[in-house]
């Protein structure tokens, strides 16, 4: 059965059952590997992508429910996105495995709220686990990307 999905601005036919999670179509069929598997039950956020600009968990999004919604993955951000630049500037990643999901949550937040408060950042980012513990650098990078970083907010040496 063929379903057409619009991913990163390109319409792509996929051969998978409608109940197949978007995550496994992105990875196993389309080899868009930036979107990661971490838990499969929407607890870790490693598979976060945008559906019409909203951050969603691809592991809990059957492709049959996507319809004409525009899907954006980490590959679709282009690499020069201000949030990605802030991630590099602050050396946010450690193992890096969760960071695609973190960045997709952060970009969705900033697209909706240009200068989020700490509480708004907490609310947007608490669904994304990082076992390496890069959280404080993520906060610094989000504030930097949104033009809110003061020198004192960066607690690193």
């Amino acid at each position: 059965m063929s379903i057409e999905l619009e991913i990163n601005g390109v319409k792509r036919p996929v051969n998978a059952d409608p109940d197949t999670p978007l995550l496994w179509v992105l990875r196993d069929e389309l080899h868009l590997t930036g979107t990661k598997y971490g838990c499969g039950i929407a607890q870790c956020g490693a598979c976060t992508v945008h559906l019409n600009g909203q951050a969603v968990r691809a592991c809990q999004t059957p492709i049959g429910t996507v319809g004409a919604a525009k899907i954006t993955t980490i590959e679709g951000l282009g690499g020069a996105h201000p949030v990605q630049a802030a991630w590099v500037k602050h050396d946010v990643p450690q193992c890096g495995y969760c960071q695609s999901g973190q960045i997709m949550s952060a970009t969705a937040l900033l697209a909706a709220t240009a200068k989020p408060t700490d509480e708004e950042i907490d609310a947007a980012m608490s669904g994304n686990l990082c076992r390496c513990g890069t959280y404080q650098r993520i906060r610094s990078a989000i504030k930097d990307a949104s033009g809110q970083l003061s020198a004192s907010a960066d607690a690193t040496v």
Partner: protein, 743 residues
């Protein structure tokens, strides 16, 4: 992780040398075992490297490649699993070479123990926070030798004395005005015979090491989805495998029915392997559906059937001498003075501690891509214990370990898990690929549930401590009992890790504690009961329980004596003598930077702890408030002595991350058993620290001229100790059971 502290014979651990306590205690753990016995006369690297193909590493040796554009590539023999070793390893080479840091790259080396052994292990592997420490002299020498080749080449080409040549950022120059970059001199330099003992820089002349320019090399790849992990490997004709594992530890497969599984679209094959039933399919989703359709019958006659509460009750009985399982006997690891007196009365503090099993729960569940044809085997994955995995794979395909080819990818975390003593997930992948054959790539994918229920946990542990105090309230006699599983006994690592029936990882951190050094009478013993539940090193290993036990006991003693915890430690470090000089230094730095003793508003309290592990000493002060009975940690001030600080920002990153990892475990971490089966299977039940719960970690690095020691692990255990101390300060009640927040 492979590291081992030594000789628990009753003497205190040697310490106070230029590199700190455990430096001299660090022993090589070469798993140089063939057929179960140590091969005398062969080095572990010779054994693990046997069968390795001949490599032509080029003129600059196995660690340095130089492109025609002059850009330097450093070959990393270690796993990069988050700890940021590219920054430090690259900087060591760049410093001695005077290479251009901005264009320097770091790539993964091949697996070859003869060339790429960890010099603190004897075989190739990453662990024990040794990547920088064991590479320090090796890469300095390689870099200096390469620099010398360019200097000689330029001197000959320009007909000037070598002593007049300057090198800076990959550009060789002479005061006469002649200049050339490494690329332009490459052909001539490659013909120069490198010095076997090149002159190294005086560290005071370092221009890169210790500066803020030393940053990660992989942030861009890891911020764009381009970094390649095992999960991301897609090869032509590749199959995906999942495995139905035993539902409880020690269970064995009796029979299975794959009729329905084989009907699932995309399922290619279903077959039994030693660890369960493998379902091989065209993708993860099909493989999982196939596994769900299996009918399985397990023999549980030899399985663990106890629950965690039963195990803990047994541990308490063992500690009290009321139960002595036949599978072990008590072993003394520190004994001095006459400890025969009774530990009771008003001058004795009793403290009891229970620690649960902990899953590593790295973000990327275990996985491995294997290809097998006959004895030929290639593995593509986030390899951490290269040599151990080669040995284990070689045993399956009947080949020499060095002949097992490994392509090392990034690992999505590990915290010790990817370096499994029995190479569990690697062997499973090889078994499946062997069945599939034809060198067809098979990607073994563990689901989160597979990963979390597969064991190799931080062992459960119980400590029972009794301390008799002197008239001033300081320890006069210390009795200590540890009950914990050993993950080394009975394995191929036993000959290296277990001495006098003591697995060093079960007692490290108690053994060698400056507080025992400061105590005249000590009787410390360990007992290691057996269970089919598998256990393993987990970020900072023995320190995960030793640090909270020792540090929280100290705060309870200080509270009894009505002495400030920082002042109390200073007195104990004074009593311990030079052995505790570094402890005192980081304590003072952390206390000063945290404003220890200054008032805090609104119910906030501070807790302090100090612990040495992997050659580094870390102190931290945390600020904690109890909100509806649950601790909220807002700030942690860390002071670390890790020798020469090469990559300052990455040292800070490891203190930040290590603190979060330890905090997560202290607050929430537990795998509990119900009738022998793990109750936690995913992040909905295995709670992990989230964004809104993370403190700000402020790192201060103690200036040091000593050789570098580890930072990947030493930050983790200290928060597990300072947090209970803050809770004690807030409530007056000690913490005796972890995790602190019970589910």
């Amino acid at each position: 992780m492979y590291i081992k502290h030594l000789a628990p014979t009753g003497e205190p651990t040697e310490r106070g040398s230029d590199q700190g306590a455990s430096r001299r205690d660090v022993l090589v753990i070469g798993a140089a075992l063939v057929g179960g016995s140590l091969m005398v006369g062969c080095s572990p690297a010779d054994i693990m490297g046997a069968g390795a193909p001949k490599h032509d590493f080029g003129a600059f040796g196995p660690f340095i490649k130089i492109g025609a554009d002059g850009a330097v590539t450093v070959m990393n023999k270690h796993q990069e699993m988050g700890q940021g070793n590219h920054a430090g390893l690259g900087a060591i080479v760049a410093e001695e070479m005077d290479a251009d840091w901005s264009t320097l790259k770091v790539e993964q080396s091949a697996a070859n123990a003869k060339v790429y052994a960890n010099s603190l292990m004897g075989v190739q592997g990453t662990g024990g926070s040794t990547a920088i420490a064991n590479s320090w002299m090796q890469l300095r020498t390689a870099g200096a030798a390469a620099r010398g080749m360019f200097v000689q080449a330029a001197a000959a080409s320009w007909n000037v004395p070598a002593s007049e040549i300057l090198v800076k950022s990959g550009v060789v120059s002479h005061p006469s005005g002649k200049t050339a970059h490494f690329g332009e001199l490459l052909a001539a330099a490659a013909k120069v015979t490198p010095s076997a003992s090149p002159t190294l820089k005086d560290p005071k002349n370092f221009t890169l090491i210790g500066t803020d320019r030393v940053r990660r090399k992989d942030s861009a790849a890891k911020s764009t989805g381009q970094a390649r992990y095992t999960q991301d490997v897609y090869l032509p004709d590749m199959l995906t495998a999942v495995v139905a594992h035993a539902p409880r530890f020690g269970a064995k497969l009796k029979t299975f029915d794959a009729t329905e599984a084989r009907k699932v679209k995309g399922v290619v094959d279903v077959f039994a392997i030693p660890t369960g039933v493998a379902v091989v399919a065209e993708g993860v989703y099909a493989a999982r559906k196939g596994r769900d359709a299996l009918k399985l019958d397990w023999d549980v006659s030899k399985a663990e059937t106890r629950s965690s509460a039963d195990l803990l009750a047994d541990y308490h009985k063992i500690a009290k001498g009321e139960l002595t399982p036949a599978d072990d006997k008590w072993a003394s690891f520190t004994a001095k003075g006459d400890a025969s007196g009774k530990f009771d009365g008003a001058d004795v503090l009793h403290a009891s501690y229970d620690f649960p099993y902990l899953a590593h729960a790295a973000m990327e569940p275990m996985n491995c891509v294997a290809q097998v044809k006959g004895a030929k085997c290639k593995l593509t994955y986030g390899a951490q214990g290269h040599s151990l995995d080669q040995m284990a794979a070689a045993t399956v395909v009947l080949n020499l370990p060095g002949a097992i080819e490994i392509e090392t990818l990034f690992a999505g975390g590990s915290f010790g898990r990817r370096s499994s003593i029995d190479s569990d997930f690697v062997v499973e992948a090889v078994q499946i690929a062997k069945h599939v054959g034809k060198f067809r790539p098979v990607k073994l994918v563990w689901t989160r549930e597979d990963d979390m229920t597969a064991g190799r946990y931080r062992p459960m542990a119980h400590h029972a401590v009794a301390v008799k105090v002197d008239k001033d309230g300081y320890p006069a006699a210390w009795r200590h009992r540890v009950v914990i599983q050993s993950f080394a006994k009975g394995t191929m690592m036993a000959s290296m890790m277990v001495k006098n029936n003591i697995d060093a990882t079960t007692v490290e951190g108690v053994l060698g504690s400056p507080y025992l050094e400061a105590t005249p009478v000590v009787d410390a013993q360990v007992f290691t009961p057996h269970s089919p539940v598998t256990t393993l090193w987990w970020r900072s290993v023995g320190a995960t329980h030793a640090a909270p036990v020792m540090e929280h006991t100290i705060d309870q003693l200080a509270a009894r004596a009505k002495i400030d915890p920082v002042a109390y430690r200073r007195e104990l470090y004074r009593r311990a003598g030079p052995a505790a000089a570094r402890h005192l230094a980081v304590l003072n730095l952390a206390a000063e930077k945290a404003g220890w003793g200054t008032p805090l508003a609104d119910g906030w309290v501070r807790g302090v702890a100090v612990h040495e592990s992997f050659g580094s000493v870390v102190a931290n002060v945390c600020e904690v408030k109890l909100v509806d009975g649950a601790p909220k940690v807002r700030k942690v001030t860390v002071a670390v002595d890790c020798g020469v600080a090469i990559a300052r920002d990455q040292i800070a990153a490891q203190m930040e991350g290590g603190t979060c990892y330890g905090l997560s475990a202290a607050l929430y971490g537990a795998v509990t058993l119900k009738n022998g089966a793990p109750e936690q299977t995913n992040f909905d039940t295995y709670r992990a620290l989230r964004f809104n719960e993370a403190p700000v970690v402020e790192t201060h690095i103690l200036p040091s001229a000593n050789a570098p020691s580890g930072v990947g692990e030493p930050g983790t255990p200290v928060i597990m100790a300072s947090l209970p101390n803050a809770i004690l300060a807030a409530t007056g009640k000690p913490v005796s059971s972890f995790p602190i927040v019970q589910a």
